[in-house]
């Protein structure tokens, strides 16, 4: 039975990564120069607002499968507190941090009306850090990332998101280009 949980954990981990890529891309890409034509697209905005419904189930499946897998030896506390595991502390701890940051982003998004727009934006920017920690977690602990095809797809999506994130950061730091 452990092997089934192990397979589910591996598959749902990659699915959670894919779902998070969709979420981040649909959020950042319309605000970049290359894909600015999507900025006023309601469908893309609706997709971004809706992506928690695919990220959360995938992430929870990954966590529950690892909790049920006796070989993985992941405890309930390890899900929320990083670097407590008896092995792979950094690799697994980064996954714990990304899950914590995901919770922060989701809770602050649902509390958006109670926050000022500026405060909500700063909390929402935590999602970039969450994506980076999740990417590092998948690279350092992902069993299937040893496959060249899966590794290439993961790197390609991360590079795409990194490119758009840096472009947006460049525009934010150089307001003159926005007015032009």
């Amino acid at each position: 039975m452990d092997l089934v949980f192990w397979e589910i954990a591996r598959a749902s981990g990659l699915a959670a990564y894919a779902a998070l890529c969709i979420s981040v891309l649909s959020g950042v890409a319309p605000r970049t120069q290359a894909l600015s034509f999507l900025a006023h697209n309601r469908a893309v905005r609706a997709l971004h607002d809706w992506t928690p419904w695919i990220v959360i189930p995938a992430a929870l499946t990954h966590i529950v499968a690892l909790l049920l897998d006796a070989t993985a030896r992941i405890g309930v506390l390890d899900v929320l507190v990083p670097f407590l595991t008896s092995y792979g502390q950094l690799a697994i701890g980064l996954g714990t941090i990304s899950f914590d940051l995901l919770i922060v982003v989701l809770v602050t998004t649902w509390m958006r009306r109670r926050l000022s727009n500026n405060a909500w934006q700063w909390w929402h920017r935590v999602s970039y850090l969450g994506f980076v920690t999740m990417f590092l977690h998948s690279m350092l602990s992902g069993t299937d990332l040893t496959s060249p095809v899966i590794a290439a797809l993961s790197w390609a999506s991360a590079i795409g998101i990194g490119y758009y994130a840096l472009e947006r950061l460049g525009r934010a730091l150089n307001p003159a280009r926005i007015r032009a």
Partner: protein, 111 residues
């Protein structure tokens, strides 16, 4: 109001507060369905891959299973060394292979 006073140009609809978002060529439900199908495809594809590659020798994380195997097979395994800090007795390793006087079934070639 003076008739010669300059009038401000109207605020473009795209930048004003009441700007309208276009639905785009693909409806929202289409993108959502695409997102679900992509995630499901990744899950099913990875599940199939994980099933075909259960034991990955170069996996980055390998939780230790020596202690677990030792406790379950302690009664049958006579030559299993279990690292333990609590037990201070000396572990004696004995060979479980016995010689026989029967004729050989297979031949092992050596160079």
């Amino acid at each position: 109001m003076n008739a010669k006073s300059p009038t401000l140009p109207p605020i473009p609809a795209k930048t004003g507060p009441g700007r309208k978002r276009s639905p785009g060529p693909v409806p929202a439900w289409g993108l959502k369905l695409g997102g679900v199908l992509t995630t499901l495809a990744v899950f099913l594809g990875s599940f199939g891959y994980a099933g075909a590659h259960l034991y990955v020798t170069n996996a980055p994380l390998r939780p230790a299973t020596v202690a677990r195997v030792a406790t379950t097979d302690a009664s049958t395994a006579s030559a299993t060394a279990v690292p333990s800090t609590a037990n201070t007795t000396t572990t004696t390793l004995t060979s479980a292979v016995r010689t026989t006087t029967r004729s050989a079934v297979t031949v092992t070639k050596s160079s």
